[in-house]
Each structure stands twice: as structure tokens, then as C-alpha cells.
Symmetry: C2
């Protein structure tokens, strides 16, 4: 008897988010295997319980920086999960309206506060003083516009416009053109070494020990390991208590990487390894 293979992939929903768009741009997945979840926490729990095989969440944006919710859930709540792959895609914001609606008809703009912030200059120039309504996600904003009686516009993805039968009135309304987001595909299987890999770890330091970050960095400098990201995050135990999320070039099976991690484990409270995976082109 053929073993049932779970091909489901969880993503940060609802349908039509940048996360779904990123997933579809990189992975061949059938519509019936796409499962939206409301939060990053729900995505990783779904993988944990094997409701899905993989899950995809955003981890870093070139304008906004780290996605703190993702770093925190992976740091504090994920067990036995690994980053299997990274996916980097350009973020292009669209002004989305009902068919027939023009720029002059718009009375309200709806979107996630972060998307609104990324289009501040466009809005100030083209829709000055417009009323801004908050939504839980860009996809949710598009849904709201589709259901609204008045003539509002959403800032969202092309995918969401398509899903809700709306029209893209204006493309690329983001203030900064080099706007990219890095997503990570999570699962339970370690990715194979390719020779062009990255490794993600979190180092928990002892409280009130000045110079900890310097000591961490020295372990890597000494071995000529290049760091591609370092992000302090509060441990939620008071202002000034941190752990450090670190992405480096190399694979845990590389001798220098494994020896750096071994030495960090000797010196610091906890080192959590979140996996090695092929490096994406920027």
C-alpha cells in the first residue's frame, strides 16, 4: 500500500498575502494543498502537529527590518523545527479598487499599518488628507474593499486583487523601490549541504554580562565566518535582557561552523540551532 504523503503547506494568511505570493513564486504547490493560518504561531503549530508538511512565514524586510513575531515564535515556541529554505521576493504594493473606480472617486484607503507606512509619500502626493483605515493584513484590506459600499481603495497584492475580483489601479506605489522580503520555509527535514548555504542560530546570553555580543562576534571573526544578519531580541524578562539571532554563511556540517557553535555552547547559556539551508540569490 502506498504511504499517504502529506503535501500540505501552511502560510501566513488569509488568501492573497505577500506570503502566499512568495510561496507560489518559488514552490510548485496545488491549490488544495495551500492552507492559510491567521498567525505565525499557528503556522508553526500546524507543522509541529503534522497537520501540514511545511510552512512559510516572512522573516525580514529590507525597509522594515526583522519580522519580530517570526523571530520570537521561532526562538521561544518552535521545537524540532528547521528552516529548510529561504525565499527572497520583491514587495510591490498595488492600489486596488473595484472595477470602474478612479483615483478621484476614492474616499478611504484601507490596509495593514505597515503597508500604509511604506506608501506614505505616494499617498501624501496623490491622495492628500485621505482617511486611512487599519486592517489586519493587506489581503484582509482587499476583502474589505470588495465588500464595502463606499468607494475605498486597498493597498495589497496582485494575487489578492485577482482573488476578490478587483482591479489594480496603480502599480508600485511603495516609497522605496528596493523593497524586498525574505521568507523562510519551515519543516522537520534538514536541508542538504549545497556548498552555498546559510545557518541560523539564536544565542541566549547570561543577564548583565557586558561584552557578550563582542565575545560572540569574535568566535566568528576568528574563523572568517561571515555573518549576514544579527538581531538582538528582548527575552521578555525586562528591558535590557537580550538574546541574539544570527545568520551566517556556511552549513552546520562545515567544520568551522560546527566548531564556532560548539564554542558558543561552552560560553553562553543556550544556543539554539534553527537549521542550515541553501542561500537564495538576493
Amino acid at each position: 500500500m502506498k504511504k499517504f504523503e502529506n503535501k500540505k503547506i501552511a502560510f501566513l494568511g488569509p488568501r492573497g498575502t505577500f506570503t502566499e505570493e512568495a510561496l507560489l513564486s518559488a514552490v510548485a504547490v496545488k491549490e488544495e494543498n495551500l492552507v492559510p493560518y491567521a498567525t505565525v504561531y499557528d503556522v508553526i503549530k500546524a507543522i509541529d502537529k503534522s497537520e501540514v508538511k511545511n510552512g512559510i512565514v516572512p522573516i525580514e524586510n529590507s525597509i522594515e527590518g526583522s519580522v519580530n513575531a517570526t523571530l520570537d515564535v521561532l526562538t521561544f515556541e518552535a521545537n524540532n523545527l528547521l528552516i529548510e529554505r529561504e525565499i527572497i521576493v520583491p514587495i510591490r504594493h498595488r492600489l486596488i479598487v473595484k472595477p470602474g473606480v478612479g483615483l478621484k472617486d476614492i474616499t478611504t484607503v484601507v490596509s495593514h499599518p505597515q503597508a500604509v507606512a511604506q506608501c506614505r509619500k505616494y499617498l501624501a502626493k496623490n491622495l492628500p488628507g485621505i482617511e486611512i483605515l487599519a486592517a489586519n493584513s493587506t489581503a484582509d484590506a482587499v476583502r474589505k474593499v470588495a465588500e464595502a459600499n463606499h468607494q475605498s481603495a486597498a493597498i495589497g497584492t496582485e494575487l489578492a486583487a485577482k482573488l476578490y475580483g478587483l482591479k489594480v489601479l496603480k502599480e508600485d506605489i511603495e516609497d522605496f523601490k528596493d523593497n524586498k522580503t525574505r521568507f523562510v520555509l519551515l519543516g522537520k527535514e534538514p536541508a542538504k549541504r549545497t556548498g552555498k548555504d546559510k545557518t541560523s542560530i539564536v544565542v541566549f546570553i547570561y543577564e548583565d554580562r557586558p561584552g557578550s555580543l563582542l565575545q560572540i562576534l569574535q568566535e566568528f571573526a576568528y574563523r572568517y565566518i561571515n555573518l549576514t544578519k544579527i538581531q538582538s531580541r528582548p527575552t521578555k524578562k525586562g528591558l535590557g535582557n537580550y538574546c541574539f539571532w544570527i545568520d551566517m554563511e556556511g552549513h552546520v556540517e562545515d567544520e568551522v561552523v560546527s566548531s564556532a557553535i560548539k564554542c558558543l555552547k561552552c560560553k553562553f547559556r543556550v544556543v539554539k540551532v534553527l537549521g542550515s539551508y541553501p542561500a537564495a540569490k538576493k
Copy 2:
């Protein structure tokens, strides 16, 4: 003739935000001198143009980490502005309803997505599956509940509940009890040296020069200067290009601090000094 003294203070509004609550807890200010602005950017522009004498914005939370909007505006948009003071206050989330409404009557919860995220466990236990609506701020959420026809609840401040004539149904619904936010009071006058001071700077590194952060940290370690915060921020020029926000113990008039800054200015592209100010008690 007596010179007109501008005593106005800008804050991140609308009325009833945590920022206004923090300001009132630390500074004696008359109601007519309180001026709400919609964004951190508007607050600093108001100080710049001398519409107000000072302005207050949130910079860091013990759960969420840095307030990126504030770091970015101060890094990229503020000229000749200084941090004159820091104010640290506990963040206590309240469930706010119209008088007469009980927990069982609530059909919707409204708040800023970050406040909702900080009360996730409380909501899951006490209002499972409740519909969540996004608002642009906690204060805006309280206003929405005051104006709504249906029986909704906001997550917000005691001050906002008072301003809109609503009732605090439940206090301290935040998941983590050690939830504090650090605010900074901005202005144009350097604060006097007290002997217990902090200094904030931003160091811009040259692109693609590995080991930059290590070199920065060594300047401080060598002089026994304790860092209280270090935060990388994207320069908005592509993934992987960073500058570093650094808070340290000491005053720019201390010899070790001024010499560390001088050496950083020799080595790196730009060093922006955002002021020295008395350290608040945590």
C-alpha cells in the same frame, strides 16, 4: 516685554495613547500645551519648525523590542534634534467597554494589532474565537468602541477610557507582566551632565565590509563603556545593508565617550550623535 515662551509638547496621538500617559506621568504639562500628532514623523517635524518646544515618542518596549518607526525617523529624518530625557513606564493593557457591558456581551475586540498580540493568551482564554478588528492606535480603538452601536471592547489605556467616558472592565490583561516601554523626550537643548547619563548614537557602516560591528564594539570594550542597547536597522538600500543604533552609559562630555565617538568617526562612514541625557531608573 516678556519673551513668549513656547511650552507646547507634541506627542504621538490621538489623545489617550500610552505616549500621552507616559508624558503626563513624568512631566507637569497643562492640558492646553498638549498637542497630538498622527505619526512620529509629524512629531519631529513639529519640533523642527518650532511649532512645539518638545515632543515625546516611544522608542523601545520590553516585549516587542525597538520601535522601528522612531529609530528610522531619528536616524534618517531628524536634524538638530536631541534626546533630552528618557521616560520608562509600565504598559498595562485594559479591556474597555461601554458602561453596563459585561464580558459575555462582547462580540468584537478592537485594538492596534500590537496590543492584540500582547494580550493573545488572555483573549484565547476569556473570549475564545472573538472577532478582532484592527485600529490605527489603542486610543483610536477606544474611540471606535465609544461610537459603536454593537457591544464591542477595546484594548487601551485608562486615560483613553476616561477621555471617552468608558469603563475599564478588566485591568492588566497583558500576557507578560514585565511589559515596559521606554519613551524619549526630544528637543533642541542639550541636557546637562548629571553623572548618571546615557548617550545615543547611530553608526553608518560602509557596505559589504565584514566585521564592522566587531570593530565598533571593540572601541567601547577597550574603554570599558557599557552598551545598554544595540540595534541594527536597514538603510533601506537592499537586504543586508545596515546602520547601528547604539545606547551607551556616559555623557558626550565624558572623555572616554568623546574619544570613542571620535575614533568611530575616523573608521566609519557617518556617526550621528543623538544626544546625552539622564538615565531613567528601570
